[in-house]
């Protein structure tokens, strides 16, 4: 049997492969589930149940002409799409999947995720700026404002967890939840703020103002085609996967089974429950995409600064006070 140690080459290869395959599958899963939610079937032609749809998409994207518009700013235009997938994969390094399964056991894991999310906003901005196109510029501006604002709430909303678990280390946060119970209950407001801010941070529906097909064509990636667009696309899905994996780790007990439903082997049980919880959140995000409408940009900003910021600060304040009172 293999020995699972955090950061071993086997771990790295397996997790990287699993994440990439899952992100590719996610493109198909999202379209399929979205289809069912809309009482359609979704893509079901390529392979059994259409499971190879992503392969066909990738084949199409790769064989397309890799075109850089003559009016674009070449260096940022090429750099921009590379940033998203790289940054999102880097964040995945700190996600604990099971005891002994993971790439990095970083003491500042939570901050690392925030840092990578901050860097991720560059891809949309640089892409929008370098395209030298009015719609792209609008998309880039929207992306910049949105991501900078919601990063703040995202950061503040998870500080309550840091106070409760006394650590930035994601593994220790999971262990603390095993001890004290899931953090959704004491940190419910933080949880709500985190989910909404995370949605805005990954630029997913209903916060896809940076793309906004109905208003600004495709926003920051209007001028992109071929595999450059594919990188934006895959990056977005890895981001969704990351968010769906982060929420269970932070709020739903990570790899520990709910209601004592552990499987016999600790690692298999951990991987199973982690994947199950992640899958539930992925489904929730697809449901949100199918159900909710896009807010106007000023509504988004007002909502962020007038509702989310006070809520998250209040949550942080109360959590700190309670922990301090209990400590004494």
């Amino acid at each position: 049997m293999f020995e699972f140690v955090v950061g071993s080459p086997l771990n790295i290869v397996l997790i990287l492969g699993a994440v990439l395959v899952a992100a590719a599958l996610l493109i198909w899963v999202e379209r399929r589930v979205l289809g069912f939610l809309n009482e359609r079937l979704g893509p079901n032609r390529v392979g059994p149940w259409g499971i190879a749809q992503s392969l066909a998409d990738v084949g199409k994207l790769i064989t397309k002409e890799d075109w850089v518009p003559p009016f674009a700013d070449k260096l940022p235009f090429i750099v921009a799409p590379i940033i998203v997938p790289v940054v999102m994969l880097l964040s995945f390094a700190v996600i604990p999947i099971a005891p002994g399964v993971g790439i990095m056991d970083l003491n500042i894991g939570l901050l690392w995720v925030l840092a990578m999310a901050g860097l991720g906003s560059y891809s949309a901005m640089l892409g929008g700026l370098a395209s030298n196109n009015k719609f792209s510029l609008l998309g880039g501006l929207r992306a910049a404002g949105q991501m900078i604002s919601y990063e703040v709430f995202m950061g503040i909303s998870i500080l309550g967890i840091v106070i409760l678990s006394d650590s930035f280390n994601l593994r220790e946060i999971v262990e603390a939840q095993h001890k004290h119970g899931w953090f959704v209950f004491p940190q419910f407001i933080g949880f709500i703020v985190f989910v909404i801010a995370g949605l805005a941070e990954t630029k997913r529906w209903p916060f896809d103002l940076a793309e906004g097909e109905s208003e600004i064509i495709s926003g920051f990636n209007t001028e992109y085609s071929g595999m450059k667009f594919g990188l934006f696309f895959v990056g977005e899905y890895i981001g969704m996967l990351l968010l769906s994996a982060l929420i269970p780790v932070l709020f739903f007990g990570g790899w520990y089974a709910p209601f004592g439903l552990e499987l016999p082997n600790a690692i298999i049980s951990g991987i199973f429950w982690m994947c199950a919880k992640t899958g539930c959140w992925i489904f929730f995000f697809i449901l949100v995409r199918a159900a909710l409408v896009r807010p106007r940009y000023d509504q988004l900003m007002n909502y962020g600064w007038l509702v989310m910021l006070p809520l998250s600060l209040l949550n942080l304040l109360v959590t700190g006070a309670v922990v301090l009172a209990q400590g004494n």
Binding site: L287, A291, L292
Partner: protein, 182 residues
């Protein structure tokens, strides 16, 4: 303040209701018709691919009167009249450019001999645009189409080989005007 809070709570509640209602749709049956596997029923009077039919005796119905070409709003029909040795008219060529045809059915309505007819077939996509131009050989079928008993030359008064003047259905024999004297 309380008003504002109530409004916010109502907004959140309405979003949750939306989420729930959309979620229930996952259990409903999809409306999709999987077209190539599951062919839809096409009504007989559907206006689709154009054919040229034959009369019950197996001769071409088209008499090359050009009425269909005149009626065509997009001018996609082209034909040239000619005659056989019996004096029967027929088109030398009959060409429809289906890349222009809008399947309006005016040609069918204009046709005095029920020769040109529209069928329920609609699968006419081609990879080469030139292949959208159909000739008479492509359109001429061996049956009578929608009108089984109609035979123009059996009704019309024109004499053709094997049918003289006055031998058509409901037609009296020709009258010798010189014998009509009182």
């Amino acid at each position: 303040m309380i008003n504002f809070l109530c409004k916010q709570l109502y907004i959140i509640w309405s979003q949750l209701v939306t989420l729930w209602l959309v979620f229930t749709h996952i259990f409903k049956k999809a409306d999709t018709v999987e077209y190539p596997d599951q062919m839809p029923y096409m009504f007989p009077r559907w206006r689709g691919r154009i054919i040229l039919s034959r009369d019950p005796d197996g001769e071409e119905r088209c008499v090359a009167c050009n009425l269909c070409a005149v009626a065509c709003p997009v001018d996609c029909i082209a034909l040239q009249k000619t005659e056989d040795e019996n004096g029967r008219w027929y088109p030398e060529f009959f060409r429809i450019n289906f890349s222009r045809c809008i399947m309006c059915g005016f040609c069918e309505e204009a046709c005095p001999t029920h020769a040109i007819q529209l069928t329920p077939d609609f699968e006419m996509a081609e990879y080469v645009r030139q292949d959208m131009v159909w000739e008479k050989e492509d359109m001429l079928i061996s049956g009578t189409g929608k009108y089984h008993d109609y035979n123009f030359y059996k009704i019309a008064g024109k004499a053709i080989g094997g049918k003289g003047k006055g031998e058509a259905r409901n037609e009296l024999p020709p009258i010798d005007r010189r014998s009509l004297l009182p």
